[in-house]
């Protein structure tokens, strides 16, 4: 068993913390996240309200907790959409070669030509705002990413001796891909998933910021940031906390991704 590097450890810690907070928020938050209390609006951090209250008197800590839940859910589904559709596409491109490969990859190239966030904005603007559409919009631009990564890794793996051996004993191309190639490229995919997860969090916050993500009254980090904007001179902390939450989440998943990549990299072995 190799040692866990500091970046992997920190990334794991932040990720576990965020997932924990999101899970806890399902059962408990200090206050109901949508409960308003106009008398105590725009209060600073205190024992009663750890991170203060927003312009409606809602508890910022509770909103951030509930926001963690919605952000992680959106990112998780979005990445799952990307993996679920992108990986099979990439694997079939790698195994078929020829025109199928060409077709899939050119379509992926085409998809890459559009800036990811812009595509997501366009899709949600067309399909209407909301959590489900945000998941799909972010998921769609994840598909070519995973298709390309899966294809590249599979092409390399196909030439390995164990794959050649499997093919030699008469396994079909599909079985080879599923039972021999996929398990061996799973580390690469896992690293890509954490990176895409971090990007999905930024995309979710961005969509919510422009009003296209999770709809009110359900809290979301991006919208909290937007709402805080005009209050920046009266209650600057309002913008700081959701900003920190987004930064922390992105940092956590990026560290995790970096750490995992180093961890699985054969060249890093036996150091």
């Amino acid at each position: 068993m190799r040692r866990i590097s500091p970046s992997l450890g920190l990334g794991l810690l932040i990720t576990i913390f965020l997932v924990g907070v999101a899970l806890v928020s399902l059962a408990w938050t200090p206050y109901p996240p949508t409960r308003i209390d106009i008398l105590h609006r725009l209060a600073g951090p205190s024992a009663a309200h750890w991170l203060g209250t927003d312009p409606f008197g809602r508890d910022v800590a509770s909103m951030l907790m509930a926001g963690a839940h919605s952000t992680l859910a959106v990112a998780l589904i979005a990445v799952a959409v990307g993996v679920g559709l992108g990986v099979p596409l990439g694997l079939s491109a790698a195994s078929s070669g020829g025109w199928v490969d060409q077709l899939v990859m050119r379509i992926a190239d085409l998809a890459f030509a559009f800036p990811a966030l812009l595509t997501a904005v366009m899709i949600t603007a067309l399909a209407g705002p909301g959590a489900v559409n945000a998941m799909l919009a972010i998921g769609i631009f994840n598909i070519p990413v995973f298709a390309r990564v899966a294809r590249g890794a599979a092409l390399a793996a196909r030439e390995q001796d164990y794959v050649v051996a499997a093919r030699a004993v008469g396994r079909s191309e599909a079985e080879v891909m599923l039972y021999h190639v996929l398990p061996n490229i799973s580390a690469v995919l896992l690293v890509q998933m954490t990176i895409q997860f971090a990007l999905a969090i930024v995309a979710d916050a961005g969509l919510a910021y422009v009003g296209l993500g999770v709809q009110p009254p359900q809290p979301s980090w991006g919208r909290m940031l937007n709402d805080a904007q005009t209050y920046i001179f009266r209650a600057p902390l309002l913008a700081v906390f959701p900003g920190l939450a987004i930064t922390l989440a992105v940092l956590g998943f990026n560290l995790l991704g970096d750490g995992l990549r180093d961890h699985f990299d054969p060249r890093m072995k036996e150091r």
Binding site: T34, R35, I36, I38, R41, P55, F56, G57, R58, P129, G211, Q215, P216, P217, N226, Q229, T230, Y231, F233, R234
Partner: protein
């Protein structure tokens, strides 16, 4: 960016010539939250149309001034027959439209008959309904005969809906407005701005400003940033009240808080369940803390109302305490009406901040009485087409900026689907009353009837929070009708 470079270039070219003596500034850039759907106030209900065109591009026979009083406009004077049925307007002579067409009595006849015709697209047909006939004894005299005495007739003819359009231009006024006003339409860059310039052939006193630009910025933080950066000279209806304290402290700006006719309501579709039940509507009125709503959504700028009338209107009575904030009583009333806890109410939210922020607060208030709100943000055009025109909504938050518009609740077809014979008969009596005491009494009865039926939840009257350059003179402080009348605006030396 391109524009910036051009501006800098122009400025540097102009510099040597301007070196002698700096001329007083004669341009104005003014911010608005909503972009108008068109520029013809006789064919659309949106207040934004009037906020660009009223008094600037188009004029009527009479006009409403900054104090809400009726003043002469295209009619220099008028007389009313003793029976209150015949209005004789003496028109200014030599008036021309921006396209060169002459304005005379035939235009008055054309305009009023057009508004009255069965296929009229006028949003306020009711204002013209009392008119029996328009006659033209000569080119500068218009005699309007009414079916019955109508106390509000002169005021009504001062609305943006009663302005004079050049008959040749009516097909294109939506995009290329042609009026008699002191400013001429130059261009409309969709999604960004409308530009006007001084009309050299204006019949009256020429305005001080040579060019006026209306810019449309719906995002409150972008609006605040544009004002603070000096990109805008004025934002007469400023959408970010929470930054006012900072702007007040800044000597570059004047912050002026006035009143409007904007009655902000939670409109309910009375034809849909459960809003057909008066108990549900009353329960909603009790579930919402109006003062809290004003604090939370408008930073305290606004006045609670209890009916479709604002405190500055003649004959206002205070009905705010009719449904005091009481979630427990609201819950009980909802249970009585058979509305199950957890029932979801869809609320459509147009772009203004009172609706978007107010909607979030109202959702939280409804949650306290066991209802769930499904908030659906809509664009302005969608709102006009869906809820307003087709009645396609359950609930929506909207501010009615038309002055003293008690008539909308008496209409046969209106998006509230409020059908009260009692109210309609009271309204007919009010319209026909000529005695001021009787009028005041009836206008009180109308408000009481509304508060009793609560066809919509009356929330608050919008404040007019204006922010403009401290050197700007002549901006309207209050908003007795929707307008950004810049004809009297100038820059201090």
């Amino acid at each position: 960016m391109g524009r910036l470079i051009v501006c800098t270039l122009a400025a540097s070219l102009a510099l040597p010539f301007a070196a002698g003596r700096a001329a007083a500034k004669d341009t104005l850039t003014l911010g608005m939250v909503l972009e108008p759907p068109g520029l013809d106030p006789t064919a659309g209900a949106a207040a934004a149309i009037r906020e660009v065109t009223y008094a600037n591009i188009y004029e009527g026979l009479v006009r409403i001034d900054a104090q809400g009083k009726v003043r002469p406009a295209l009619a220099a004077s008028w007389t009313i027959s003793p029976d209150g049925l015949a209005y004789t307007f003496h028109l200014h002579s030599g008036v021309r439209f921006h396209d060169g067409a002459p304005f005379d009595c035939s235009v008055v006849k054309f305009s009023y008959e057009r508004a009255l015709s069965p296929d009229s697209t006028n949003a306020q047909k009711g204002l013209f309904e009392p008119i029996a006939a328009v006659a033209c004894p000569d080119a500068t005299t218009a005699v309007v005969t009414l079916k019955r005495p109508t106390a509000s007739f002169l005021f009504d003819m001062g609305w943006g809906d009663a302005v004079m359009l050049s008959p040749a231009s009516i097909a294109s006024d939506r995009t290329n407005p042609v009026g008699t006003g002191p400013f001429r339409f130059v261009r409309w860059v969709k999604g960004d701005r409308v530009e006007l310039e001084r009309f050299s052939g204006y019949w009256g006193q020429a305005p001080k400003l040579a060019r006026v630009t209306f810019r449309f910025i719906s995002d409150p933080s972008a609006a605040a940033a544009a004002v603070m950066a000096g990109d805008l000279d004025a934002f007469p209806n400023f959408p970010a009240p929470e930054v006012l304290d900072r702007l007040k402290a800044d000597p570059r700006f004047s912050v002026v808080v006035g009143t409007t006719e904007g009655k902000t309501i939670l409109a309910l579709n009375n034809a849909r369940k459960p809003f057909d039940d008066v108990r549900v509507r009353r329960a909603l009125a009790m579930a919402i803390d109006r003062q809290g709503l004003i604090e939370g959504a408008m930073s305290g700028y606004g006045t609670p109302i209890g009916a479709h009338y604002v405190p500055t209107d003649p004959g206002y009575i205070d009905l705010v305490s009719k449904y005091p904030y009481n979630p427990e009583a609201a819950k009980k009333l909802l249970a009585e009406a058979g509305v199950k806890p957890g029932t979801t109410i869809e609320i459509k939210l147009p772009p203004p901040v009172y609706a978007r922020r107010g909607g979030e607060l109202i959702a939280a208030y409804l949650e306290q009485v066991g209802l769930k709100a499904d908030l659906v943000p809509v664009e302005w055009a969608q709102w006009l087409e869906g809820p307003f025109r087709n009645g396609d909504y359950a609930a929506t938050i909207i501010s009615h900026t038309e002055p003293r518009d008690l008539d909308i609740f008496a209409r046969e077809k209106y998006y509230f689907n409020y059908k009260s014979e009692a109210y309609r008969s009271l309204f007919a009596q009010y319209q026909a009353a000529t005695d001021p005491t009787k009028q005041t009494e009836l206008v009180g009865a109308l408000q009481r009837q509304l508060a009793d039926d609560e066809p919509v939840v009356f929330l608050f009257a919008l404040a007019k929070v204006g922010v403009w350059n401290a050197k700007l003179r002549g901006m309207w402080i209050n908003s007795p009708i929707p307008a950004n009348d810049v004809t009297g605006v100038s820059w201090a030396e």
